[in-house]
Amino acid sequence: MTKLPNWADIVLVPLVSLLFAAIISALVLLAIGQDPVAAMNVMVTGALGSPYGWGYTLYYTTSFIFTGLAVTVSFNARLFNIGGEGQAQMGGLGVALVLLSLPVWPHWTVALVAAALGAAAFGAAWAAIPAYLQARRGSHIVITTIMFNYIAAAVIVYMLVDVLRPPRQMEPASARFPEGAALPTLHDIPGLSLIFTREVPANVTLFIALVAAFLVWVLLWRTRLGYQIRAFGQSEPAARYAGIDPFRTIMITMLISGGLAGLMAVNNVMGEAEKLVQNSSEGAGFIGIAVALMGRNHPFGVLVAAFLFGFLYQGGAELGLWTTIPIEMRIVVQGLVILFTGALDVMVRMLLARLFFRKPPPEVAVAARERA
């Protein structure tokens, strides 16, 4: 009854949060003696001012869609899968092992399907262990998934140094993937090549990400499994009452979540690097958490939020390239966006509620009193 209208909840709250983040970022820039307007200019032009910039922005967006969806699926079951990073890295290992298993691939579509299966399987397997520990032993999934990120990083280093590294190569990386395994970039796609006149990292995986977002939506809101996942997430006792098996739900949810995080490797390892390197996911797993938070744990929200973070990533890189602003500024801006859209969400909501009703809603008022 005193809820914000839907449109305000979906559109206004994130926009106001972003505005706050932008204001504080500007203040930080002023504090280090930089011109915020000029910086904003560099970011927008760098990320969205040219097809080349778009090519990078969309590349990052693709990665963030996958990790954002991974977190969204698990959050809907109230399983805080913080392990997207490790699962994405293991997904990369899956891609590498699959693609290196043949000397040459007949067609990129075949390679894509095989690599995607490998990526999803490895990501899911990496999520399965914390899921089992949570479901059977009650080990908190936040703790175990975080720890599994470190283990994943160590496993990758071992695999790269001792197993996958070709003889006489100094760099800890796998061999280049064989012929026929390269994915078409947006530049290679008929029609789009008119826009993307140069080679860009964004590739066909973008379309897979869009399809994945749609499928996640179908899963969560149109299937029985999604119904059970959401019910379990809302209330575990109620789920038991309804006969929803907690063990099964936790396992399946985490397998899907890990699989989605693993799929990200198709974009960066197969589509861009074309070999497995150390730290291939570059923190995208963690950004997925922010993307899911900002996207309100809804696949379509994730698409928008992933694009925003893609923009920040690419824009921030341009800052480092063209200005004297340190590239770390990009982390500050991301941090502020996460802070305002995620952690301070309730504050923004209360502010808006005050504007809308000129009185706080009773729940908020009561909560505030009880805290006082």
Binding site: M1, T2, V218, R222, T223, R224, Y227, Q228, R230, A231, Q234, S235, P237, A238, R240, Y241, A242, G243, I244, D245, F357, K359, P361, P362, A365, V366, R369
Partner: protein, 513 residues
Amino acid sequence: MTTNPAIELRGISKAFGPVQANSDINLRVERGTIHGIIGENGAGKSTLMSILYGFYKADAGEILIGGQPVAIPDSQAAIRAGIGMVFQHFKLVQNFTVLENVVLGAEDGALLRPSLAKARKLLADLARDYELEVDPDEVIEELSVGHQQRVEILKALYRQADILILDEPTGVLTPAEADHLFRILRGLKEQGKTVVLITHKLREIMEITDAVSVMRRGEMVATVTTAETSPEQLAELMVGRKVLLRVDKTPAVPGRTVLEVENLRVSDADGVERVKGISFSIRAGEILGIAGVAGNGQSQLLEVLGGISPATGTVRVNGDAIDLSGRHSNGQTRRARGIAHVPEDRQHLGLIMDFMAWENVIFGYHNDPAYQKNRLIMDNAGIVREAQAKMKRFDVRPPIPTLQAKSFSGGNQQKIVLARELERAPDLLLVGQPTRGVDIGAIEFIHQRLIELRDAGKAVLLVSVELDEILSLSDRIAVMFDGRIMGERDPAATNERELGLLMAGIAGEGAAA
């Protein structure tokens, strides 16, 4: 002095967004009286009292205490004005002693010892004057609910409250404890204190109050002298139409045995035995009522039968044993055996509050092939249609399947659960606290549905802490105390006093019957 009422409210209004919780409320509570405030859930009683206690600020109107206009911006101001409040859910620190709780927030100085000594003396005086005996050195969590409530009253009196507001004070008490509370309140009244009693129980109003104000939909519809009114008149004022207070039913015609429970034992997560070997049976076409104060094993009994928690012993439904280990059974396998369950805690078990009504209407039955479009996709549109029809048949207001469960009132939430569980025509219905937090109009409806189910030849296990409800619905009554069945009684041949003694664990004459 006597002409000034203890509390006078003039034109109090309060809106939350578009909802007018209180509109133009006028109220006079005379000094030295017990004043009842009665109304259905959502009638605005709690909002009004929250304004009086400084939790909310009224949009309009003024508050006079003892004839003086006062501003009450927070609860500290209310305490200074001499108002004390005993909430429905106690606000006590569980691992502090009685004395520490009483003094908490009202210490005289930086050192605790003098305050405690002073409080100890005062507590002794209060205990003597008002039958408010509590051991001052006992830790709160060791106390019974009735004693905890006394501590809340003592807290208010320690802060020199002249006006005591009690919100639904008897909901958690045995009949004997409630009687004791009423003696305390009468003693306070004799000492010139003013008591405001918020309740939905007409019997209490009739028993103890001097005057009663009735609220309906945010308005004060009447204030009457208790001696000049009747429960029927009050009920009509509350609901706005004539209400049937008694349940009309014909004698039960019991058939074959549906449920047999033998030596059932249940331990909770901490390994404490909560149900200690109980046996009973229910036949088709009868309602077995389980009476008892909350927390004596009834909840565990329902959860075990509903497939939520494991137990040992034997339970047979229609002659076949059901799995109690919890390994091969859950709510769903129970439903397959013809057991429907309306849980005690509908907000945590029976419903998903953030789900829409239509999603809740299939909750637990979501695997039914009728709800699937194909192997993967659910038939959402079909479910919404069915939900709407069910909501209409069960008079859920408003009958809009796309509203979230949490936006319905307690009574309508309960009707959504009932619509789901009853329309499946189960052989056995488990129902816990069917009318807790439900308004009078809906109580009548729910009771009629339960009787209808019984008359259709189904077995019903009714667990309720409302003795009135047990007495008017049950064909047999079993009383649970400390995990055991203290005795079984015929509702026609027993009374509240006898049941009250059993509920307190005192086996009377012929308890083994």
